[in-house]
């Protein structure tokens, strides 16, 4: 049983126009096995939260804490967070030219576990996971994310999630860009990680459709760098029906 705690998190970034505050006091606690959905308007800071948890150097934490089983996550580099069991499925996965998926997956697994996986079982594990996610075997020899379609990149993020077996995963709009079948196989992958490893999940999405497959117990409405409201799955349906209007300050609504 593990816990990921986010306490009163304030985050800003340096831009050409000066410092910009993006997160303005986010608090959230996720336990093993729990699924939390975050929904919120464009630009409200959802990806910022995700990247900050994963340790992107662009984001400055000006206040607050992130704790993994009581350990200070903000003290750790991005690599150490991954080794500690955090995983971010990115909204925009990055291309790494000249590095094959096979090489990348094995290197990353080795880095996360601290030792190289046994080659034979590993190869099979990768092959099986790819089959389940309906990723063509050719992808093993392709360069990381290079020339992948939007949906293919997302599937490959979930492939990593299944292989690296994190304690907590943050899925940043993994459902965007997936076709109907892909949405189902990807959701099945996430659900497997839940059942098999008791993974806790923070699922960022704009659409309720994925919530038919991955059932959250908590829904958070994210507005202007803060959690504006929390509730159960019914909150998602309400958002789907009415939008974010009632959460927006008049000023923000006018934008």
């Amino acid at each position: 049983m593990s816990t990921l705690e986010i306490k009163d998190l304030h985050v800003s970034i340096e831009t050409d126009q000066g410092t910009k505050d993006i997160l303005k006091g986010v608090s959230l606690t996720i336990n093993s096995g729990e699924i939390h959905a975050i929904m919120g308007p464009n630009g409200s800071g959802k990806s910022t939260l995700a990247s900050t948890i994963a340790g992107h150097p662009r984001y400055d934490v000006t206040k607050g804490e992130i704790l993994l089983d009581g350990e200070d996550v903000l003290e750790m580099g991005a690599d150490e967070r991954a080794q500690a069991g955090l995983f971010l499925a990115m909204q925009y996965p990055v291309e790494v030219p000249g590095v094959t998926m096979t090489n990348f997956l094995r290197t990353a697994k080795t880095a996360i576990e601290g030792e190289a996986p046994k080659l034979r079982t590993w190869t099979k594990e990768v092959k099986d996971a790819m089959e389940k996610l309906r990723i063509d075997a050719d992808f093993a020899n392709r360069n990381v994310n290079e020339g992948f379609s939007g949906g293919e990149k997302k599937r490959v993020e979930i492939l990593q999630l299944e292989l690296f077996k994190p304690k907590f995963a943050i899925l940043d709009e993994t459902d965007s860009g997936l076709d109907i079948d892909a949405l189902r196989v990807v959701s099945e992958g996430v659900n497997r990680a839940h059942e098999d490893n008791g993974m806790g999940t923070l699922l960022i999405t704009h659409y309720t459709r994925i919530l038919n497959y991955i059932k959250p117990s908590f829904v958070h409405v994210f507005v202007d760098g803060k959690v504006a409201e929390q509730g159960g799955p019914e909150l998602a349906d309400e958002l789907e029906a009415n939008g974010y209007d009632r959460f927006l300050t008049p000023a923000a609504a006018a934008v």
Binding site: A78, D79, F87, P97, G98, V99, K109, Q160
Partner: protein
């Protein structure tokens, strides 16, 4: 400073014991940069200690005498010396103003006679080659012939018997001059004339060692021939001279590697490599240059290619203080092909000024240059290339791709692509990119558990993969390992 060097040597002597290294490095953090060059040990050095410094006619005569050369070679050497003295330093390229020609030792004889077995070598020298993994490669039959040059001369040499039976000649150039003078009278200096440039002239004056390769008509040497160059003494000048002749329809792959100890003061390596590719023959010449960062590496390499022949240069420059090297191909026969794949790493204090030169002198010739460079820690990587298409070279095609990767913001890269086209009916392509390792790329890999330097090394390896792919597997692995060493401590 000498104390520092002594400590550095201690580190290097103990390179097999990570515990010892870590302790020494912890005690002496300033040594960390030194420790990352793995080949920086030196052997005891009686031959080098007594060698004369500086160059004049007597040095040239002495070399020629020691080798009991024919009169014409001595004459040519003297001509080389004249050109060397007369020609100014190049005013372009890297800064060469600090080379002290009077302080260089131009000839160092480390053993009296060439060995046919590794056991016959002096222990010091043998150990050095063992540590470099050369005898092992030979035992494992990864190479079909080996020549090992230590200081000025080839100290060990071997070629597989079946190749010898097919008439393949692979020996050091000094011996070849004695045993096969006919080739030398015809070809020596025919591709790179004595006065071609200041450093080719210097090489002609004081050359010693290097390889001679002759592959008879139609013979394919399937497994590479390997040459290994080692400088041991401080302020050494190594001037090997290589001549490769691939007769009609033949094939050979020649690979060279080079390393040297780390010293405070500079050494000079100035080779000349001449290659003759006859009709429909193919030569591939691979270099993994990993001199220590006190070596000036100023090398002239050129091939002439007859009808239907192919010359491929694969040129990896990782070490040295300064490298200026632009392997050239003169396409003299119709449908001749030239290809250069060049990869350069410039770390702290290094300037890699590299590229290639393609000269189209016959119709329907084609050439391509792919250059990839990586600069980090304030190093500078320059691409310099020339594509020349002569009036009669109708239907010729050339493409140049040069990509530079900057690992940080203090390093530099620049490109000097020269084009001289005197024929209309040609196809040309040129692409150049400069990229930086992006924060997002690093973050992506680090969020998958890779430490920053591992992530950096992975990005760099990916960047040069199109070239590593062309190397035999052991060399690709070696190149990757060298990159990892280079990238260690490159961040943070």
């Amino acid at each position: 400073m000498t104390e520092q060097i002594a400590k550095a040597e201690e580190v290097l002597r103990n390179t097999n014991d990570p515990g010892v290294i870590q302790k020494v490095l912890d005690d002496n953090p300033e040594l960390k940069g030194l420790g990352t060059y793995e080949y920086g040990w030196s052997d005891s050095d009686t031959a080098g200690a007594t060698a004369k410094r500086g160059i004049d006619t007597s040095v040239v005569e002495d070399i020629s005498n020691k080798k009991s050369e024919p009169e014409w070679m001595l004459k040519l050497r003297k001509k080389g010396l004249k050109y060397f003295e007369r020609k100014p330093q190049p005013t372009w390229g890297a800064d060469l103003s600090e080379i002290d020609f009077d302080n260089i030792k131009y000839f160092v004889r480390s053993t009296e006679k060439q060995a046919q077995t590794w056991e016959d070598l002096p222990e010091d020298i043998r150990n050095t080659y063992e540590r470099l993994g050369i005898p092992e490669a030979e035992r494992e039959r990864l190479v079909s012939g080996v020549a090992a040059q230590y200081e000025s001369e080839v100290v060990y040499h071997q070629i597989r018997e079946d190749l010898e039976e097919q008439g393949v000649i692979f020996m050091d150039t000094d011996t070849a001059l004695k045993e096969h003078p006919e080739f030398f009278e015809e070809y020596f200096g025919s591709v790179i004339p004595v006065g071609d440039n200041k450093f080719a002239a210097l090489n002609t004056a004081v050359w010693s060692g290097g390889s001679f390769v002759y592959v008879p008509k139609g013979v394919h040497v399937e497994i590479p021939l390997q040459a290994y160059f080692r400088i041991n003494t401080e302020n050494m000048g190594q001037f090997e001279r290589t001549l490769i002749i691939a007769d009609e329809g033949s094939y050979v792959h020649y690979i060279e590697g080079c390393t040297a100890p780390i010293y405070n003061t500079d050494s000079l390596h100035s080779a000349v490599v001449e290659i003759i590719v006859r009709k429909n023959a193919r030569v591939r010449y691979t270099t993994i240059q990993n001199w220590s960062t006190n070596v000036y590496n100023l090398v002239t390499k050129r091939a002439i290619v007859d009808e239907g022949g192919t010359m491929e240069w694969i040129d990896g420059n990782i070490g040295s203080k300064v490298t200026m090297k632009y392997p050239a191909v003169y396409l003299t026969g119709e449908h001749a092909k030239g290809e250069t794949l060049s990869v350069a790493f410039a770390g702290a204090g290094q300037h890699q000024d590299t590229g290639s030169k393609m000269v189209h002198m016959a119709p329907n010739t084609s050439s391509s240059i792919v250059s990839k460079s990586v600069a980090r820690s304030g190093g500078r990587a320059s691409y310099r290339g020339l594509v020349q298409i002569n009036p009669e070279a109708k239907g010729s095609a050339n493409s140049v791709v040069c990509d530079a990767l900057l690992v940080d913001t203090i390093s530099k890269t620049d490109t000097y692509p020269y084009i001289d086209i005197r024929e209309d009916d040609v196809t040309l392509g040129h692409e150049a990119t400069v990229s930086k390792v992006s924060e997002d790329q690093l973050f992506y890999l680090m969020s998958r558990g890779l430490a920053e330097d591992e992530a950096m090394a992975m990005i760099v390896r990916g960047f040069i993969e199109p070239i590593a792919r062309e190397l035999p597997m052991e060399y690709a692995l070696e190149l990757n390992r060298l990159i990892e060493l280079q990238m260690e401590g490159s961040v943070g």
